[in-house]
């Protein structure tokens, strides 16, 4: 991994009322890699992803995307290229197809029925376009949420605990789907999870986050080993 990172953070910090949610984080993400950020709940993992998506503003430090300070990139363009899948799907009322079309529509692109169907097939929900989102199970909703993000053709995927709100069966399904999508090498991804086993199965590299700071980064096994000794 000697090439330039696709995205890296430089002393990225967010402090709210004297408390650091994220403190001095320096992380690099290279093309095609899957970086897992693990750590106890409340360690600031989700806050870190929100900062990278610029849904929150850093109080210090910044993020470079393709070598460019992300504050110079219009937020909407940045968020399209660095897509995020949240813990809860937060689907908009209406049909599955309307949800899939939402992102591209924001920049004046209208997906055809065939485009929508192709995305739905990709997430294992062929023929679901006309369904109302209120009829979906938790796992199906999370698949739609993933397809909705993929519709924007992002370069980076930020996955914020994508399976933690699901039951065991749905969790296994989504994890298998993520593995399949990440294996294509189309995306670099940052996966935030508190599920160490899942991080081990999906990620190529791992960062351990504790109390807002990254305390260790390295190959998945190394970090897992260190974390297990610590806890």
């Amino acid at each position: 991994m000697s090439e330039e990172p696709l995205l890296y953070t430089e002393r990225l910090s967010r402090r709210v009322k004297e408390r650091f949610l994220v403190e001095d984080v320096n992380l690099s993400l290279y093309a095609q890699e899957v970086l897992a950020v693990v750590g106890p709940s409340g360690a600031g993992k989700s806050s870190l992803l929100r900062l990278i998506n610029r849904l929150d503003e850093p109080t210090h430090g910044t993020v470079y995307f393709h070598g460019r300070d992300y504050r110079e990139i219009p937020p909407r363009e940045l968020r399209r290229r660095v897509g995020m899948v949240m813990q809860f799907p937060y689907l908009f009322p209406g049909t599955v197809a309307e949800n899939i079309r939402f992102g591209p529509r924001q920049r004046g692109v209208e997906l055809s029925d065939a485009d929508v169907e192709a995305l739905l097939e990709r997430v294992g929900l062929p023929g679901y376009g006309d369904r109302d989102v209120s009829q979906l199970s938790g796992g199906e909703a999370q698949r739609v949420s993933l397809a909705r993000t993929l519709a924007n053709e992002p370069e980076v995927l930020l996955l914020d605990e994508p399976t933690s709100a699901l039951d065991e069966a749905a969790k296994a399904g989504i994890e298998a789907l993520l593995r399949e999508i990440l294996a294509t090498g189309e995306f670099a991804a940052i996966l935030v999870t508190h599920d160490l086993a899942q991080a081990g199965r999906l990620a190529t590299r791992m960062a351990l986050m504790e109390e807002g700071r990254i305390t260790r980064t390295g190959r998945t096994e190394e970090v897992l080993h260190a974390y297990q000794i610590l806890s």
Partner: protein
């Protein structure tokens, strides 16, 4: 010398002000030539001074000239009080007083002017104050309802708004469903009262006119005029209040600020 050409005292004064002002702008030119770097400050001070002093003059004119003008001053004071009242309903929303003031002044002010222009409201204190205050009170109530609903909708949908933003939506697009819900909800009482006019109730203005011996059809039509003006004021105020507020709950980097204390 100028008095030979300008007989109207106001025009004469305006021309004099123009000439005096141009002289002062000569100072600006000098400052530029001599690189004193005071051009900006002086220009702003001149323009500001002119605007302020003319406004004061116009207010005094209104007060001195005829009592009707006092009516407008009183209505303006009422609008400020109304804005304060409805801003209190917007607890937690940024810049609420200013947003309420703008929307109430524009919403009720424009309809009030039209009403005076077409003669629905007579230009006398006894008509201007009561009908005007009725209009702006309705604007105030609608703004309060709209703020309250908008805040509730946004706080209940923080996750959806973040999701929309993270999909590349503009702040406006991300909160559009809640803008709509707030405006519609705030107008329900007005639409319902218009819909049930005459069937469920005979409102105050018409009742008063009937008791005063007016022709019933004339009283009915006048009541309809008042009701539709109230609806217009309410809709304008509500739309302005919610649209103006919807911009203020985001940072310049398009991040949602209004999150109910959660982080």
């Amino acid at each position: 010398m100028l008095t030979r050409y300008f007989h109207d005292p106001i025009t004469l004064a305006a021309v004099q002000a123009l000439i005096a002002g141009s002289l002062a702008f000569f100072v600006v030119f000098l400052s530029y030539k001599l690189q004193l770097r005071m051009e900006r400050d002086i220009s702003i001070a001149l323009v500001r001074g002119l605007i302020q002093v003319v406004i004061v003059g116009m207010v005094l004119l209104l007060i001195f000239q005829e009592p009707v003008a006092i009516g407008f001053v009183i209505l303006a004071a009422m609008m400020i009080a109304a804005a304060q009242t409805s801003a209190k309903r917007a607890r937690g929303l940024p810049d609420a007083f200013r947003v309420s003031l703008y929307s109430i002044v524009i919403g009720s002010g424009s309809v009030l002017l039209v009403a005076v222009a077409i003669g629905v409201i007579e230009l006398k204190l006894s008509a201007l104050i009561p009908v005007g205050s009725m209009l702006l009170a309705n604007g105030m109530n609608t703004a309060s309802l709209a703020f309250n609903r908008f805040r509730g909708e946004v706080l209940a949908h923080v996750g959806h708004i973040d999701a929309a933003l993270s999909l590349g939506a503009s702040p406006r697009a991300a909160v559009m469903p809640y803008i709509r819900a707030a405006i519609l909800a705030s107008l329900i009482p007005r639409v319902d009262s218009l819909r049930s006019l005459g069937i469920v109730w005979i409102p105050g203005v018409m009742t008063g006119m009937l008791l005063g011996g007016s022709h019933p059809v004339r009283a009915a039509l006048y009541q309809f005029v008042i009701m539709s003006m109230i609806l217009t004021v309410s809709a304008l105020t509500s739309i302005l209040a919610v649209l103006l507020m919807s911009r203020r709950i985001f940072t310049p980097a398009e991040q949602l600020i209004l999150r109910g204390g959660q982080e």
